[in-house]
C-alpha cells in the first residue's frame, strides 16, 4: 500500500493553509483541523516583493 493511501486510513490531523473553506468543511466532518492564517508575501505583489528582498540582504 502506498504511503498516501496508508495515511488516509489513519486518523487525520490536518493543518490547512490557504482557502479557509477547506478548513470549514473538514471541521464539519469532525476531522481535527487547524487553519493557519497565511497569506502570500506582499499579497503576491511582485514589485513589492522585489523591494523587500533588496532590503533583506
Amino acid at each position: 500500500m502506498s504511503k498516501i493511501n496508508k495515511l488516509f486510513r489513519e486518523e487525520l490531523k490536518v493543518v490547512n493553509l490557504g482557502l479557509e473553506s477547506f478548513h470549514r468543511e473538514l471541521r464539519e466532518k469532525k476531522v481535527e483541523v487547524v487553519h493557519i492564517n497565511w497569506r502570500p508575501c506582499a499579497g503576491g505583489n511582485k514589485r513589492m516583493i522585489e523591494l523587500l528582498n533588496k532590503l533583506k540582504k
Partner: protein, 421 residues
C-alpha cells in the same frame, strides 16, 4: 548589510519612543505659542491641501474659524476670504501641532503646551470642545462659536492658572494608568478625562476666578468624555517628532488625514508625505444618519495609533465596541493583529487582559507591505457637508498605497546613496 542598518535604526527609533516623557506644562494662545504661527495662518489636520480639494467638514471648520476670529461674519464672507489666498493653510504637523478631526487651529485659540522632558521638544493642541455640533467636525453655527469664545475667555484661563499652581502633569504616567482603566487614548478617554479632573481640581479651586466660573469649567470637563483626547494626541506628537528623519529606519513617524487624503511619514524618508485617497469609515451612526452621510477619514488623532495606543491598544478598552461597533473579542483581535506589523512592545503602556503585555509600538512599513496587514484606527465620523458635525464613530484603515509608495521611496534613497543596488 542594509538589513542590519535597518534593524539598528529601528531599534534606536523605538528606544526613543519608549524613553519619551511627555508632560503638560501649560496653556498659551496659538499665535503667541506655536512657532511661526501668524495672524493669517490657519492650521488643519492631515497632509497639505488646497481649499478647492478640501472636504466639507474641513471647509466648515475653516469657515467657523474665520467667524470665530472676527474676520468673517457668515459662511459667505468666510468662504470669500478662504478663496482669496489671503489666508495661509498649513498642516498642524508642520508646526509641531496636532488637531482632532478637521484639526483647525486659528491664531486666537488656546492650545495645550506639551514638553517631551527627555528630549526637550514641544507639541501643541487645542482644547477639546465635546461631541456633536463642534468646530472640529465642521459645524460653525452660533452655539459652536459661542462655546469657542467661552473656552478662550473662561476655560483656558482657569485651567492655565490651575496648571501654574499644580506645576506640570505627567502624561506618560497618566496614559499608562488609563490603559489599565479601560481607555485606549483615542476614541475612549473616559478614564483619562476623570484622572485629569482629579489631578487639576485641587488647584483649580484655589484660582482667583468666581465659583461659577470654576464650577462651569469642572462641569464642562465632566460632561465631555473626550476632553483628554486633546492631551493624549500632543503627548503622542511630542513622542514621535523626536524620531522623524532617522536614517535607515522604516518606522512610521506620522499618520494623518485631512478628509480628502490620508498621509504617512516614515523616519528614513525625511519630511515627505505619502498620500492616497482617505477611506470611508465602518462604524455606528447617530440616530438619523447613515453611511451615505459620512465624510472620508479625517483628523490627526491617528497620531495615537502611530505611537502605539488608540486602535493598537483596543484590547485594553473592550467597552469601546459599544461606540464603534463589534464585540469585545474584536478589540482583542485587533491588538493581537497589530503585533504583526510593529517593531516592539511598549514598556509603560501595558494591557491587563494580555497579562500586562505592552501595546504594539512602532509601525514598520516593511512589515505592513509584507503581511498586507494595515494599521487599525479608532475614529469619529464627520458629516460630509460643512456645518453639520459628528454623525458617528467607527474603525478604518489607511490605504495600502501610502505604505507601498513609502517603501519605493525608501529603496530609491538607498539606491541613490549607493547603499544598495
Amino acid at each position: 548589510m542594509i538589513r542590519e542598518k535597518i534593524e539598528v535604526a529601528n531599534k534606536e527609533v523605538v528606544k526613543k519612543i519608549l524613553d519619551a516623557r511627555p508632560m503638560l506644562v501649560g496653556i498659551g494662545k496659538a499665535i503667541d505659542t506655536i512657532p511661526n504661527m501668524t495672524d493669517k495662518t490657519i492650521l488643519h489636520a492631515g497632509p497639505p491641501i488646497e481649499w478647492d480639494r478640501m472636504s466639507g467638514p474641513l471647509k466648515g471648520a475653516i469657515i467657523g474659524g474665520l467667524i470665530y476670529e472676527g474676520l468673517a461674519t457668515d459662511q459667505k464672507t468666510a468662504t470669500e476670504i478662504a478663496m482669496s489666498g489671503e489666508i495661509r493653510f498649513e498642516p498642524c504637523h508642520h508646526y509641531n501641532a496636532v488637531g482632532p478631526m478637521a484639526g483647525v487651529v486659528t491664531p486666537s485659540m488656546p492650545v495645550w503646551i506639551i514638553e517631551n522632558k527627555t528630549y526637550g521638544n514641544y507639541a501643541y493642541c487645542t482644547l477639546n470642545e465635546g461631541l456633536g455640533k463642534v468646530l472640529r467636525y465642521g459645524a460653525y453655527g452660533e452655539e459652536v462659536i459661542d462655546r469657542l469664545k467661552w473656552m478662550e475667555d473662561v476655560l483656558a484661563p482657569v485651567l492655565k492658572e490651575a496648571l501654574e499652581k499644580n506645576g506640570y502633569i505627567d502624561l506618560k504616567s497618566m496614559t499608562a494608568q488609563i490603559i489599565q482603566m479601560g481607555d485606549e487614548g483615542h476614541n475612549r478617554n473616559k478614564a483619562g478625562t476623570s484622572l485629569f479632573i482629579r489631578e487639576i481640581a485641587p488647584y483649580l479651586v484655589l484660582t482667583d476666578f468666581t465659583d461659577k466660573e470654576k464650577s462651569d469649567v469642572l462641569k464642562f470637563m465632566h460632561g465631555n468624555d473626550h476632553f483628554f483626547l486633546n492631551l493624549s494626541m500632543p503627548a503622542c506628537k511630542a513622542t514621535m517628532d523626536v524620531v522623524a528623519n532617522t536614517e535607515y529606519s522604516t518606522i512610521v513617524t506620522a499618520m494623518a488625514r485631512n478628509g480628502t487624503d490620508f498621509g504617512i511619514k516614515v523616519a528614513g524618508t525625511g519630511d515627505k508625505w505619502f498620500v492616497a485617497p482617505a477611506e470611508i469609515i465602518d462604524g455606528l451612526f447617530f440616530s438619523g444618519y447613515s453611511a451615505k452621510d459620512a465624510n472620508p477619514d479625517i483628523g490627526d488623532s491617528v497620531i495615537t495609533e502611530t505611537s502605539g495606543i488608540g486602535g493598537f491598544a483596543m484590547a485594553a478598552a473592550p467597552a469601546i465596541v459599544q461606540f464603534i461597533g463589534g464585540v469585545p473579542q474584536d478589540a482583542l483581535n485587533f491588538t493581537m493583529e497589530m503585533y504583526e506589523i510593529t517593531e516592539s512592545e511598549n514598556n509603560s503602556y501595558q494591557i491587563p487582559s494580555l497579562n500586562f503585555r505592552g501595546t504594539p509600538t512602532g509601525i514598520d512599513i516593511m512589515k505592513v507591505v509584507e503581511t498586507t496587514i494595515l494599521p487599525i484606527i479608532n475614529t469619529g465620523i464627520a458629516h460630509k457637508d460643512a456645518g453639520v458635525g459628528q454623525v458617528g464613530a467607527g474603525l478604518v484603515r489607511p490605504p495600502m498605497k501610502c505604505f507601498e509608495d513609502a517603501l519605493e521611496e525608501f529603496v530609491k534613497i538607498l539606491e541613490t546613496e549607493g547603499i544598495i543596488k
